[in-house]
């Protein structure tokens, strides 16, 4: 097709999209007229699919910008991706402040959290161990991404008697010392940790101090450990 004819067809299609069919119908050459009509039909189809796409986009944008802050949106996105890749590892679907996971596939999820390009959590900011009562201990991880500047919190709950969580010290090197400290204070064991021993208290100390039912030992190497004095106020 020659360029003159191309230009003519585009002009006719434009006019046809606005509803003016006169110029197309008045072409005497039958081949040119049919080519112009085919191009017009194609253009109309393209315009229709764009229209149907736009309302969908508008709906999701409305939902995300009006009601929820961006970190909750990020939590939802992470939960959705975890449900796809690691089914069965979410403990509940609550995503307002944190993501609650089960401890079995934690090492794989952690590797994926660091390597996935849209998340890229390359920095473990803080790991807290906490005794939530009810015979449950929890380990809470706060992650941050230097690249995207977003953050999230992940919690893993374990029973008191058999508190074991897979260790992530191969992925974030600071988890080595954070996990040793959680082990020291609360007694949560991290399986796969290369050197899990007490870090702050002496090696022969008995008990896990930050548990709510901790009782201080009587003596340490001959020095009497005084009991904690209650009711002073």
């Amino acid at each position: 097709m020659s360029t003159d004819q191309d230009k003519l067809i585009t002009e006719l299609v434009e006019k046809g999209l606005t509803g003016d069919m006169e110029p197309i119908n008045s072409i005497e050459d039958r081949v040119l007229r049919s080519k112009a009509k085919a191009a017009l039909a194609k253009a109309k189809r393209a315009a229709k699919s764009q229209e149907t796409a736009e309302p969908k986009k508008k709906k999701s944008e409305e939902k995300s910008s009006d009601d929820l802050p961006s970190s909750v949106n990020l939590n939802e996105k992470i939960v959705y991706m975890i449900n796809e890749k690691f089914p069965g590892s979410l403990a509940n679907e609550n995503t307002e402040t944190h993501i609650q996971l089960k401890s079995d596939q934690w090492f794989e999820i952690a590797t994926w959290l660091k390597s996935e390009p849209s998340l890229s959590f390359d920095s473990l900011q803080c790991q807290t161990g906490i005794d939530v009562g009810d015979n449950t201990l929890e380990a809470r991880y706060n992650f941050h991404s230097m690249k995207h500047n977003h953050y999230t919190e992940i919690r893993i709950a374990v029973p008191r008697k058999e508190a074991t969580i897979p260790s992530v010290e191969q992925i974030w090197r600071i988890a080595d010392w954070f996990e040793r400290e959680t082990y020291d204070m609360l007694g949560i064991e991290f399986s796969g940790h290369r050197d899990l021993r007490r870090i702050l208290l002496p090696d022969d100390w008995e008990g896990w101090p930050l548990r709510k039912d901790y009782l201080v030992q009587e003596t340490y190497h001959g020095i009497v450990v005084p009991k904690m004095k209650e009711g002073w106020e």
Partner: protein
């Protein structure tokens, strides 16, 4: 000094020699900087240019074998208590101990729920002067050290003490 201590009966010559020895010991006690926590910063500030500790004869020494006075500045924990005792035994006689700050005196702000804090360093070593404060000002530390110097001046090392 072990041979001559507590040897002689009380008379004029022994008394004058005693005074000379005590004066020599008291006017230049070198201190062993054993700083653990916040009080160590005030000890360093006391040794710096504004409140000068060197003008009362005290130089910081880092080894216990070269020091006369051990200033325990800061909290002593259970893990550290065994090492404190060892360091005290490494010092040569005559030796004195100053407990600086509330933590070394009686446990400080950690007295109530501190399971790992030693409630006062006098559980493991004998203390001569207590300097209260959290942290004590450098002027307070200097007053405590001057009191220690008065105490040393009153000693009678050569005289035989009554039983």
């Amino acid at each position: 000094m072990g041979l001559l201590e507590n040897r002689f009966n009380d008379n004029v010559i022994v008394e004058k020699l005693d005074k000379l020895l005590s004066w020599g010991r008291s006017t230049s006690p070198w201190f062993f900087q054993f700083g653990t926590a916040c009080c160590a910063i005030e000890m360093m500030a006391a040794a710096a240019s504004r409140h000068d500790l060197m003008r009362i004869g005290m130089i910081p020494r880092s080894s216990p074998r070269q020091a006369d006075v051990m200033i325990v500045a800061g909290t002593v924990t259970m893990k550290m208590a065994l090492r404190v005792k060892k360091l005290y035994e490494q010092m040569a006689d005559p030796k004195y101990v100053v407990a600086m700050g509330s933590c070394a005196t009686s446990g400080g702000p950690y007295w109530q729920h501190g399971y790992h804090v030693l409630k006062g360093v006098d559980i493991v070593i004998p203390v001569d002067v207590y300097v209260p404060g959290c942290p004590p000002r450098p002027e307070a530390l200097i007053e405590g050290l001057l009191k220690l110097q008065e105490q040393i001046l009153d000693e009678r090392p050569l005289t035989r003490k009554m039983a």
